[in-house]
Structure formats: structure tokens, C-alpha cells
Amino acid sequence: MALLDVRNLSIDINTAQGKIRVIDKANLNIVDGSIHSLVGESGSGKSLIAKAVLGLHNENWIVTADRMFLGNIDLMKLSSRERRKIMGKEIAIIFQNPRSYLDPSKKIVDQMREVLPKKLSAKHFLKKMTAKSTHQQAIKELLHKVGVQNDRDVGNSYPHELSEGICQKVMIAMAIANNPRLLIADEPTTSMEAVTQAQIFRLLFKLNQLHNTTILLLSNNFGSISNLSDYISLIYCGQTVESGSYKQIINSPMHPYTQTMIKTILEFDENIAHKSQLYTLPGSIPPANQLPIGCRLGPRCPKAQRTCVTNPEAVNYKGHIIRCHFPTLDEK
């Protein structure tokens, strides 16, 4: 059953030069209990989608969508108060460089107490005193769950005294405090070294397996997340070009953009000639105010034809959705 079902979501931002359609008919279908990764180059609008889903956008964005459902809740019709409740309970999000997302002037343990479910973080003073020990216990447990063993001194220290890796773990702990149904991870590991990256991915994977929390992973590094996620969808300049299960995407990429993405993964077993050119698409990503009409890969697409000027329709091949006029259908 689809946990998060987003159909034809488009976001217009009115800037000084007029209205720009940043996200053009994106659709996203996240299966409950799976790890769904949304891959796109930086600036392709994937964190915009996350913000739109969370309702975090500010006034001058115009969000229109045919359907945006979280389970059976219609996110479009929620008032800000209900939406805020949803954000606390149902959806959680973690960001890129985690240290800047932790309040520098507060201890970790105080920040975590804020996030604990309401019945635990008591309101009036007396209950607060007695509840202190239960909080301590809950926080200790959460930190252990995310793999932070020395929870006592991490709890009492300030964000600037912790490394990026531990900060990310603390963010994750805070996110899963209310065991949300959906955890959105917006490029959680880009600013970290390889070792901590692997740790974080293993942690996310463990969370998914043990607690069945569906994870929406936003990333621009196709290689690192591909073997982790069950479903992958690719996005380019605000248009979701292709999405499908892991096997479908890796084995039979249909959209030229997916093919190039797969080619960029370096398997070292291939014998690449010394100093040979790595494969890239010609040209570069168009700036926001000069987006090409129709399929936005148009100018750079090796198989571009005249008809690419019109917006391609999404075609579903047994769960493998593709938006291209000339998909390479291999009949295998």
C-alpha cells in the first residue's frame, strides 16, 4: 500500500522576473516499509519536494498537486495546526550538515527532551521533576538505538563539541523518537567521510528492517545509495524522469538520463583506458530562469527529437514509470 502518494505536484515560485515553474508535474509513490531513494543532481529540486510535502514552504510558493496523500490523510487540505501535529508525529526529516541543525546554545539532552512524545515531556513543574528520570531513560534508550554508546557525556555536551557523524546520529535519534511512519533523509551523508557515511547508511538500513520505518532518501550520489534502496526515482530540473524498483532501474534503464547516471558509476573491474574521458552528458544544467520547454533534458539529450518539445506523458511498464517519448525498450 502506498504510504506517500504524490501525483502531478508542481511548485511555482514568483521571483522578480515573474513566475517560474520549478517543479513540473512530479509524482512520487512511496511503498510502506521500503527505502525509496530520490536521485537528482544538486539544484534539481528534490529538497523542494520534501519541503512541499512537509508544508515548510514560505508564502511566495504556489503548490498545486492532483493528489498528495500520506496514508489516508490528504496533506493539501490540512490546516497549519494539524499539519504541525503531523510533522511531529508522522513524518520526520534529517538534513545535510547536521551540526548546524542542532541548537548551539543547548545541551543535546535538553534538545532531545523537547522531541519526546507529549505524555513523557510533562508540562507543569512537579510532574517535570518526577518525569526527569523517565526522560533520562528514554533518551538513553534512543541514543543506544542509533548506535551512540557513551550517551551520558554526549547528552551533556553541546553540538559544537560533537563530530558530524555523532550529530547525524543524534538527529536520527530525535527523528525516530516518535517512531514516525515516514523518515525523509535529505542528503544525510554528503558532508561526511566515507567511514561515517557507511555507518549512517547501515543505521538507516537497520532502522528500516527492525522498525519498518519507510525512508525517503534524497541524494545526488547515485552509486552510494543504489544498492541500499528498494525503489529509485530519478529527477532532473524538477521533472521526475523515471522511477521504479531497484532491479528495473539497474537492469533496464529506459530513460537516457538514467543510463548516463548508471554509466557514471565506476566499476573498477572494467578495464578503462588510461586517462580516458569519463562519460558525461554534454552541456550543463540550465539556470532557473531559462528552463527549456517540454522535456527539460531536451537540449542535452542524445536522443532528442522534435517531439521532445511537448511534455512527455508518464508511461507505466509494470511499476516502471518513465516519462520520455523515446524510451529504450529492450525487449529482453
Binding site: 501535529k85 520526520a92 538534513f95 548546524s100 541543525y101 541548537d103 548551539p104 546554545s105 523537547e114 553541546y158
Partner: protein
């Protein structure tokens, strides 16, 4: 932490030494111009005289300058403190509102008020304020720190404290009278201080609101007011305090001007009268007292900042 304190005190001594140098040159140029023996020995016994607290005697009333100076300066501090409290009570909330609702009606009105507050010449506003109560018919006193009816023996120099020590004779009348005398001058000083605080708070709040941890707080589902009170204020405070410390000397010079208009017996009047009567020895003592205080309070504020904001503490450890 300890050697941070040590380093600050070391800096303090050097600056204090330079201050005594400046004070000595001024005294040398104005009062003791006729000294024959070379200036170095003269400077030495000047320093030894200061260390024993003997700043010389004023030619007007033959009293030791240091004593009168400290008492006068303490009432200036009272004025600044009172004005600071008023300015904070009014300025900080306005600054927060201006910061939260940037670029809409409320923000523009508050910011234009702040701009006007900064542009008003202090002595002119003091004159207007000294005539205002009479125009509106309030019986608001406009002169001196306390009505001469009350005889207050000087114990600590701070009238707020001294008036409380004489309650058996005047109950709370003296204390109340002094507070009423404080209202007008401190509200004039508060205008300047308020606009300064509003400007600083708004700047700090906008900086904090843009930071990532506020976005994270939104995602945690906290209401706007919870976010403001729990996260924004605590992080916005240190830059405000740091900026105010730099403004301390301007605040004190404005306080002195206001005192002269309201003839409020503080350092301003003390300096003004002694210069009028040609008693220039007072100048070098005034420098030492006022700048000494500013120096000392900047150290205290630094320490306060270190306690409040852990990030400052990080820069502190990193320095070793």
C-alpha cells in the same frame, strides 16, 4: 577558562597602564606645566600617588577628588542602569516583533521609530522633556537626584541604597522621591538606548531565524512561540550584549550630557562645573574613573558572554 581570565586581566593591566599615561600627559599639560624635574620621575610619583588613592585635592572645595568623583560617578551609573532597564523592557520585545515579522507594516514602523530615536540630539530632547511635564500639568520634578528636603548621609554613593538606609527617618518617601527624580532623565537616555537595542535585537533575530536549527525546530512541530522562547532568544542574546558593550562609552557620554541639562548631580555636572571653574586636575581623575569602569565592565561582560553562549567557549578553548 582560568587562563582566559588571566589573559584578559593581563590585557586589562596594559590598557590601564596606557590610560594612566594618557591621564598623566593631560594633567602635565594642563595643571603642572611648571614642573622642572624631568617628566619621568614626575610620572613615577604620579603613579605612586594614584596607587595610594591620593588623586589630589580640588581647588574649589578642598575635598579629595577621588571621593567626590566616585560618588558623582555612582549616580551616573544609577541613571544608566535605570535607563537600561526601561530600554530593555520596551526595546527587546519591539526588537523581537520587528525581527519576526520582517518587511511588513509592524517592522517598518518599529524600525523608523528606532531610526528617529537614534537621530534625535540628546540634549535637545532633554530640554523638551524638562518642559513637557509642566505643559501637561504633571508635578514631575526636573532637577537634581532628590528633593533637598531629605538629608541623605552618603554611605555607598548610590542614592538608591542610601535612601533605603534612612527609612526609619523618612520611611520610603526619600526612596520614592529619588525614583521619581530618575524618571525623566532616564527616559531621555532610554530613547537612545531603546533604538539601539531595537536595531541590534532585530538584526540578531533575523540572523537566528535564518539559521538551520530553527528550520529543524519547525520540523519538530513546535509552535512559533515555543520556537521563539526556547531557541531564538537564547541564541540572539550574545551578539546583542557584545554590541552593547561597544556602545557603553557612547551611552555614558550621553548620560553626562543629560545630567547637565537636568543638573542631576552625576559625573557630568561634576566635570562641567570643575571645568567651568578651571579646576583641571579633575579631568585626569575623571578619565581614570570613567574609563576604568568601562574597562572593568567590558571584562565582566566578556565573562558573562562566555557563560551564556557555549560557542564563545569553544573559541576560548580553541585559542590555547
Amino acid at each position: 577558562m582560568f587562563n582566559y581570565l588571566l589573559r584578559r586581566i593581563y590585557l586589562l593591566c596594559i590598557t590601564a597602564f596606557v590610560l594612566t599615561l594618557i591621564a598623566f600627559t593631560i594633567e602635565h599639560l594642563t595643571v603642572h606645566t611648571h614642573f622642572r624635574e624631568n617628566t619621568f620621575t614626575h610620572y613615577l610619583n604620579y603613579i605612586s600617588a594614584i596607587l595610594q588613592g591620593d588623586f589630589g585635592y580640588s581647588i574649589i572645595d578642598k575635598k579629595p577628588i577621588l571621593a567626590t568623583g566616585l560618588i558623582a560617578f555612582s549616580s551616573t551609573l544609577e541613571l544608566c542602569l535605570f535607563a537600561f532597564i526601561i530600554a530593555c523592557i520596551v526595546g527587546v520585545p519591539l526588537g523581537i516583533f520587528a525581527g519576526l515579522y520582517r518587511n511588513n507594516g509592524l517592522d517598518y514602523t518599529i524600525m523608523s521609530l528606532a531610526l528617529i530615536g537614534l537621530a534625535l540630539p540628546v540634549f535637545w530632547v532633554a530640554i523638551i522633556f524638562s518642559v513637557l511635564p509642566n505643559a501637561f500639568g504633571w508635578a514631575m520634578p526636573i532637577d537634581g537626584n532628590i528633593s533637598p528636603i531629605y538629608e541623605i548621609p552618603v554611605v555607598s554613593g548610590f542614592l538608591l541604597i542610601d535612601t533605603l538606609l534612612v527609612t526609619q527617618q523618612y520611611q520610603f518617601d526619600a526612596f520614592l522621591n529619588h525614583m521619581i527624580h530618575l524618571i525623566l532623565p532616564s527616559s531621555v537616555l532610554a530613547i537612545f538606548l531603546m533604538s539601539e537595542i531595537i536595531r541590534l535585537t532585530r538584526h540578531a533575530i533575523t540572523m537566528v531565524m535564518r539559521s538551520n536549527y530553527i528550520k529543524a525546530a519547525h520540523t519538530k512541530g513546535l509552535t512559533r512561540r515555543q520556537i521563539v522562547f526556547r531557541h531564538v532568544l537564547k541564541n540572539a542574546l550574545p551578539p546583542i550584549i557584545h554590541q552593547l558593550r561597544l556602545q557603553l562609552s557612547t551611552i555614558i557620554s550621553f548620560a553626562m550630557v543629560i545630567e547637565i541639562v537636568f543638573s542631576y548631580q552625576g559625573a557630568g555636572i561634576w566635570l562641567f562645573d570643575s571645568i567651568q571653574q578651571g579646576d583641571y586636575l579633575v579631568l585626569s581623575t575623571a578619565i581614570l574613573i570613567i574609563s576604568g569602569f568601562i574597562l572593568f565592565s567590558s571584562i565582566i561582560i566578556d565573562l558573562l558572554l562566555v557563560f551564556i553562549s557555549p560557542t564563545k567557549r569553544k573559541s576560548l578553548y580553541a585559542d590555547q
